[in-house]
């Protein structure tokens, strides 16, 4: 168990972060090179002002027409993404681990809040799961990989919650938590989770075309 812990909390963390950051940079750079080569228009018409204008309307809940059309989805997806990003980054337990390793630290949220956000993320995953099952237009588009991704995202939160609350086998869950977190991080650049990387670009490009060329709104 000690060796396993040392492995998952040591070298594997490095591996996960290297894959995540390296992979993300690779995806973004290779996409940029491809765009330069074959989609010159993306650079020609990209306009930061209009890109940001569009992005802002989409990262603020209810700021776009479609967010207003789907209030539940909007609430859940924003809560989910906030929980998904804020919880791991501002979790005290994570920060102290980083402090121990690299002697850097930042503001940590109260554990109670982290608990709530974790439940929000897990509940959102359940919501997304049910949505994929229940709404015909979503079900039609859903493939197995979408469920796998959902599980990959939910797993670190479930296991984290589990081990934090010290339910049975919490040591094992602790290992599983670290492992699943690393897997999730590592797959971001190479799965649908890469929408995290490409959102600003695809949205920004559409915003640029709409704002800069078409002189119309795109939200």
């Amino acid at each position: 168990m000690h060796d396993l812990y040392a492995f998952v909390s040591g070298p594997l963390v490095w591996v996960a972060f290297i894959i995540f950051f390296g992979g993300s940079i690779y995806r973004l750079v290779s996409m940029a090179i491809l765009a330069k080569k074959k989609d010159g228009v993306v650079f020609e018409y990209f306009n930061f002002k209009y890109a940001l204008r569009s992005i802002f309307h989409w990262i603020i809940p209810f700021a776009s027409t479609n967010w207003r059309l789907h209030p539940w989805m909007t609430i859940v997806t924003f809560a989910f993404h906030i929980g998904l990003i804020f919880t791991p980054v501002f979790l005290f337990a994570h920060i102290i681990l980083i402090k121990e390793s690299w002697d850097i630290s930042w503001w940590a949220m109260p554990d109670g809040l982290a608990d709530i956000l974790t439940l929000v993320v897990i509940a959102s995953c359940v919501f997304f799961f049910v949505r994929r099952q229940v709404l015909p237009e979503v079900k039609y588009l859903t493939s197995t990989s979408d469920y796998v991704i959902l599980v990959l995202v939910a797993l670190p939160f479930i296991t984290g919650f589990w081990t934090y609350h010290q339910w049975p086998e919490s040591t094992f869950m602790g290992i599983l938590h670290i492992l699943s977190g690393e897997v999730m991080l590592a797959v971001i650049p190479f799965t649908k989770l890469s929408h995290m990387l490409f959102f600003p670009i695809t949205r920004g490009y559409m915003g640029s075309e709409f704002g800069g060329v078409r002189q119309a709104k795109d939200w």
């Binding site: 000690h2 060796d3 812990y5 040392a6 005290f92 337990a93 920060i95 102290i96 402090k99 121990e100 002697d103 630290s105 554990d111 359940v126 799961f129 099952q133 197995t144 469920y147 599980v151 479930i158 919650f161 589990w162 081990t163 934090y164 609350h165 010290q166 339910w167 049975p168 919490s170 040591t171 602790g174 290992i175």
Partner: protein, 128 residues
Amino acid sequence: MRKTLGLLFLFSFLAASLVGFSAYCQEDISFVGDSAFTERMRPSVPFLHDDHNEMANIEDCNECHHVWEDGKKLEWDSSEDKECSECHLSQESGDSDMDLIKAYHNMCKECHIGQKAGPVQCSECHIK
């Protein structure tokens, strides 16, 4: 359909597990403590000093109660008369609570991992 059922099962199992168990307690324990810890984010760490040292085969006090000077651990000096926070949270060092916690964690975890014995995960020490 089969895949979906399987996934559904997995989800319900995990959900049930969340609420199905409760924490357990230990008797006759004493805790790692430092007066600097006024607010506790996690439960105190149960620690039976003599049992631990016996089990871990530790004889020298300064194995844990160390004294450092100029970046070197003093072989013949020890600090069992002090609280950890006297050095690890001193005015001069400018340390924060975080650094004190870090000192504790590193002290325990590095040794445990090195010895392949003893608790290392959060939940193993900070028992509810």
